[in-house]
């Protein structure tokens, strides 16, 4: 019996002292392998007389069990150590910069144009397009601005050269998006609700003017479209666009040749520490021009002003982009400075929507 317990002690201490999985396996083979010491002893059981075997059997089985268990425990321990060591060796400086993805950006003008479209679409307006090089007729005459109208000079018009025919006036770069109104009404000859965003051009370049900028034209024609409707549409638009709970608009009489009556529209705001807040405060800021479509304009497109009436407005996209997103200088919009594009540009995933919000 002593030799069994000695055997057990010696294996257990060997297992205890082992320092690698290989070593443990070798001990297992030495003890429990086909030719292992304990296996050999167990094999000898067969040759033993039955009474002795009855005693030795359970003892050897216990021994085998104990050794097996010790080996299992030791193996697990060693595995854990190995893993610990591996994990230690696999330490990585994760403070290193992440891999860069090169995300592009959407220009604020494009983004804001989409915002504007989203809101007006919800109000039932469609989007109309028109040419940027326009005939004198569409840019002026049809809009009730005849050749000698003093208003013509206020547009700082760019003319396209090369038209040799003296009787035909030169084509122009459209000075406003209003010609799109004319083209659209000529086509539909009746009720419509459209906006027309796009580039417009005026020969003016200083701190606050660029020779190209962006407007969105609005037009609604119907049998009972009133100036009160105009105010409502603009109020709805401004509230949604500037993303405030309430806004206040102030209509102020003005003059545009293609609307009668005409109104400049101011929005209530405050400037606190150079920060603009829309909808509160005691300042008013002019944001757009509007009015009821002039009967001469309706006549020009073949719509009977005795049957139909409508409103029109024109809004500077660049300007409302500057106001909403705090972009200081109009000229920087068209300079394509990569720093500016990345800073003020919008993420590819920023889709304006009514259900999720006009901006992120």
């Amino acid at each position: 019996m002593d030799d069994i317990s000695n055997l057990k002690e010696s294996y257990l201490s060997l297992i205890e002292a082992s320092s690698s999985e290989g070593e443990v396996e070798k001990i297992r083979l030495d003890a429990l392998g086909k030719k292992g010491e304990i296996t050999t002893r167990m094999r000898e059981l067969g040759t033993m007389p039955s009474d002795k075997r009855r005693v030795m059997g359970p003892i050897l089985n216990d021994l085998k069990e104990s050794i097996n268990q010790a080996i299992g425990v030791r193996k697990d321990e060693l595995l854990r150590v190995t893993l610990d060591n591996r994990l230690k060796s696999e330490w990585l400086d994760i403070s290193r910069p992440a891999r860069e993805t090169y995300e592009g950006t959407i220009h604020p003008i494009s983004q804001v144009t989409e915002e504007v479209i989203t809101i007006f679409a919800d109000l039932g307006f469609e989007v109309a397009d028109g040419p940027q090089i326009e005939s004198d007729y569409y840019n002026f005459d049809a809009l009730n601005i005849p050749l000698d109208h003093p208003a013509r000079q206020e547009f700082d018009t760019f003319y396209i050269s090369g038209d040799s025919d003296e009787n035909k006036p030169l084509n122009v770069l459209r000075t406003h998006t209003s010609p799109v109104q004319i083209r659209h009404m000529e086509k539909v000859k009746g009720p419509c609700k459209i906006i027309a965003p796009g580039r417009v051009f005026r020969s003016d370049y200083d701190q606050t003017h660029t020779p190209m900028f962006h407007q969105v034209e609005g037009l609604a024609v119907g049998k009972s479209v009133s100036m009160g409707n105009l105010k409502w549409v603009l109020e709805e638009f401004c509230r949604a666009f500037f993303e405030v709970n309430s806004i206040e608009l102030r209509f102020r009489s003005s003059h545009f040749p293609f609307t009668e009556p005409s109104a400049e529209v101011d929005i209530r705001c405050s400037w606190v520490e150079n920060q603009l807040k829309i909808g509160e405060g005691s300042d008013w800021m002019e944001i757009l021009g509007s009015g009821m479509v002039h009967p001469n304009v309706l006549n020009a497109v073949g719509i009977d002003p005795e049957v139909y009436q409508g409103f029109a407005f024109g809004l500077g996209i660049d300007r409302i982009a500057m106001l909403k997103y705090g972009i200081p200088d109009l000229r920087t919009f068209f300079d394509s400075d990569i720093r500016w594009l990345k800073h003020f540009g919008f993420s590819v995933g920023d889709f304006p929507s009514i259900h999720a919000g006009i901006s992120r």
Binding site: R96, P97, E100, T101, Y102, G104, T105, I106, H107, I109, E114, A121, D122, G124, F125, V127, P131, Q132, I133, E134, L147, D148, F158, Y159, I160, S161, G162, L170, N171, L173, R199, S203, P211, M212, V225, S226, M227, G228, N229, K231, W232, E235, R250, F251, R252, S253, H255, P257, E260, P261, E264, M292, Q309, F334, D335, S336, D337, L341, K342, G345
Partner: protein, 806 residues
């Protein structure tokens, strides 16, 4: 248009505070652009009195003054010749802002003597140009009081923006009329007094047939003799100075005053310099005049001129001639009041670029019926100020009788505006503005338009007047009724939707969207124009912006150049916008273009740096096209007919069939890389968005998908082929070998160049493909795979003569 409040009150009886007047003006459509309130600017200044003025010890022209001020006695050094003991002066203390100097004054030390303040001249207070001496206040001025409380004639100057439809508001009286209609006072009676002449005018007036019909239907004049063209009286000078006009002489000042006061431009000739009869006619070609502004003008047949003895003495309604202008020596005067039509004035004024007060008013429309009263008003002022005798009035031509009459239905106000205003109030407003109404039937009126409102032609104009005077601030928003109920259909057209899609798709490849000017310089326009015609602006803002762009690429190249100059070398830019292929409406199309330059990624620790190349552009183009419904696998890649701005060996055109190119991509031609001074190979693409056909029908159901249960097998093949053989053809040949079993062919290596030719032979390269085999119904045996392999090798050999690389 500038005026002062007191001037306004000469026409308007009112107690309304200034603030209320200003906000009413803006609300009426006469937008107050600014006010200059000397009362505010000058409130710090106080009255002082010089007790003693001694010669400065170290400066001949300076005096050391002891001055009694609100802060006690101060020592002030002064250089004014009139600085002397006893006079009352305007004192500024150290720290006070002097508007005429544009700065605050400090304690000074002038040649060793301390100066604790300043005594001001009119110029220093911006009251006038007067700087000969300091202001001397009246002896009654109380020392220590605010200067503004003592000063006479200081008042608020208002500057309003007058829209082109309101020539009547280019006169103080017209402004007063609007305010009276608003209820801010009553318009004062102002009936010009007629003065009977006591001799026949030695100068007669004749209108030529060329002008009577349109350009100048009425010309009235009058001769004055023995006048003294003195300096204008103070009240007149102060008025003109206040609104920024320089007083010249009484005769000239009177005409300027009447222009601003009543909106009636007048002209005074020095009668002794006229030859006799005045003939008003159209100019002859190449007639000339030296005008009052000292400039020479060449005239054309469209110009209306006033001639005397065959010589042009004035450009009618625009500017007088220098020779016959009035000076202080003038003793005999011919006064002109004429009516010139706006279109004729506009043409001449625009061509000659003369911006005079007369042109400004005639162009917008002067009251034709005030032509003769204008003479009366001027006559009285001239006789009062300059003395002398006046002749009978001479007159040529006449005005047409008809006044504008409009049918007006009062209920239209509510239906157009959405605001209820009682008919009686509507008519009251119109009456206040000078309209007269005659009832036609229930709620319908004949309205006669006053002669000073050339802008009023129809009912809508009357409605505007009514709502303008009522105030648009009373307007409430009222919801629009919606025609469609429930979920709305999309409103973007397919073309609009596609552009918005492309924008985000291209940006997703890491490109930053730019918006550039649509006009570029001439050289760029020519380099990038495939057509011979370039679209040129007649009046460009600069030579850098003289031509409409035929492509988006020059804008991007210029942007890249600017960014590189700022040391930003790695650029990925794109723009979607209109380009122009002709100078007419509609000769434009939408393109989407990109430019890549420098390294694909910034330097980093992952060692994956590389330069951008053609295949980046190709990737973006194919990705974008696929997203907007182009079957990119069916596109032709063409290398002929490349535009000259592209690198001939490193560019291609994607085309649908042979006739419809829809995109170009590749490297920019090296000579243009040099032209734009770009550092490095410049990779560009341009998608001709409008050339992409729309799918015939929107297809929602996807095609079926086949997902085999069996293991795919991958085999690699490397072929040695001629160096200039395009790899795409080889790839296609492999794919076509067995379309059922070959599910993918992927080029994974190209070995070419000198080293390759040493190993493989002259003009050879090696191309290696991974071929993936996938069966729907079986697992491949080695035999199957070998058989397909053999077929692939044969196909490639037949196409290229190339063999498997050993």
């Amino acid at each position: 248009m500038k005026f002062t409040i007191s001037w306004l009150k000469e026409h308007l009886e009112t107690d309304a505070p200034t603030d209320q007047i200003l906000s009413a003006l803006t609300d009426l459509g006469l937008e107050v652009e600014g006010t200059n309130n000397p009362l505010e600017n000058l409130s710090a200044f106080t009255v002082g009195q010089i007790i003693e003025a001694e010669q400065h010890p170290n400066a001949d022209r300076l005096k050391v003054c002891r001055v009694n001020t609100n802060k006690g006695e101060k020592q002030i050094i002064c250089g004014a010749p009139n600085a002397r003991a006893g006079i009352k002066v305007v004192v500024a203390h150290p720290g006070d802002y002097i508007p005429g100097l544009g700065k605050k004054i400090k304690v000074g030390n002038i040649r060793g003597v301390e100066s604790l303040g300043m005594m001001c001249s009119e110029r220093e207070l911006m009251l006038s140009d007067e700087h000969e001496g300091i202001i001397e206040l009246s002896v009654d001025a109380e020392v220590g009081c605010r200067y503004v409380d003592q000063a006479a004639g200081l008042e608020i100057v208002v500057d309003i923006a007058v829209t082109p439809n309101r020539p009547d508001a280019l006169a103080v009286r017209g402004i007063a009329r609007d305010l009276a209609a608003r209820g801010l006072g009553t318009l004062k009676q102002n009936k010009p007094v007629k003065t009977v002449g006591n001799f026949e005018s030695p100068i007669s007036v004749h209108l030529d047939k060329s002008v009577t019909n349109e350009a100048c239907p009425l010309f009235v004049g009058r001769y004055f003799r023995d006048v003294k063209n003195v300096e204008s009286p103070k009240w007149l000078r102060e008025k003109l100075i206040a609104i920024g006009l320089r007083p010249i002489s009484a005769l000239v000042d009177i005409t300027n005053f009447i222009t601003y006061d009543l909106g009636r431009p007048l002209h005074v000739f020095d009668a002794d310099k006229l030859a006799g009869v005045l003939l008003i006619r159209k100019a002859k070609v190449n007639e000339k005049i030296v005008a009052l502004d000292g400039e020479d003008y060449n005239l054309k047949a469209e110009d209306t001129v006033i001639t005397s003895g065959g010589v042009v003495e004035s450009i009618g309604g625009i500017i007088g001639g220098l020779k016959t202008g009035c000076s202080l020596e003038t003793t005999n005067v011919f006064l002109e009041s004429a009516f010139f039509s706006s279109s004729s004035i506009a043409k001449t004024g625009r061509r000659l670029k003369i911006n005079s007060d007369a042109r400004y008013r005639f162009e917008r429309g002067v009251d034709p019926r005030f032509t003769e009263p204008g003479i009366d008003v001027a006559t009285k002022l001239i006789l009062d100020i300059c003395g002398g005798e006046v002749s009978e009035v001479v007159k040529a031509g006449k005005l047409s009788k008809s006044k504008e009459r409009i049918i007006f239905r009062s209920e239209r106000v509510e239906s157009l505006i959405g605001l209820k205003i009682p008919t009686s109030r509507q008519l009251e407003i119109l009456k206040q503005l000078g309209f007269s109404a005659q009832k036609q039937d229930n709620n319908s009126y004949f309205i006669e338009v006053p002669s000073w409102r050339p802008d009023i032609h129809g009912e809508a104009d009357l409605i505007e007047e009514i709502i303008r005077v009522t105030s648009l601030t009373k307007l409430n928003g009222s919801p629009m009724t919606e025609e469609t109920v429930g979920s709305k259909p999309p409103i973007l057209t397919p073309a609009q939707k596609r552009v918005s899609f492309l924008r985000r798709k291209i940006a997703a490849y890491g490109l930053n969207e730019c918006i550039s000017y649509s006009f570029i310089d001439e050289k760029s326009a020519k380099y990038f124009s495939s057509e011979t015609a370039v679209v040129k602006l007649l009046n460009p803002i600069s030579s850098e912006m003289s031509h409409m762009r035929p492509s988006l690429l020059p804008s991007l190249c210029s942007a890249a150049k600017r960014n590189q100059a700022r040391s930003f070398k790695n650029l990925k830019l794109f723009e979607i916008g209109e380009i122009f292929f002709g100078g007419g409406p509609g000769q434009q199309r939408v393109n989407a273009a990109g430019l890549l330059l420098g390294d694909y990624s910034e330097r980093n620790a992952f060692k994956n740096e590389r330069s951008v190349d053609v295949f980046d552009a190709k990737q973006i183009v194919l990705g974008a096209l696929k997203d907007v419904g182009v079957a990119t696998e069916k596109l032709l890649l063409k290398r002929d007919n490349l535009p000259s701005f592209m690198h001939p060996g490193r560019s291609g055109i994607f085309s649908i069939g042979h006739k419809n190119p829809i995109a170009i991509f590749g490297e920019l031609h090296p000579s243009l890389v040099d032209f734009y001074d770009l550092k490095g190979a410049t990779v560009v693409f341009e998608i001709l968005v409008d050339s992409i056909p729309f799918p015939k029908k929107k297809r929602l159901a996807r095609t079926s998908i086949r997902m085999s249960e069996f293991q795919p097998v991958e085999r690699d093949f490397a072929f040695v082929v001629p160096a200039d053989f395009e790899v795409d053809a080889i790839k296609k040949a492999v794919e076509f070998t067995d379309k059922n079993l070959i599910s993918e062919v992927r080029l994974f290596d190209v070995f070419e160049g000198d080293e390759a030719e040493i190993q493989l032979g002259a003009n050879k390269k090696s191309v290696a493909f991974m071929v993936k085999l996938q069966s729907e119904d079986t697992t491949f045996t080695d035999g199957d795979i070998d058989a397909i392999g053999a077929k692939i090798i044969t196909s490639v050999f037949e196409l290229t003569g190339g063999v498997l690389r050993s």
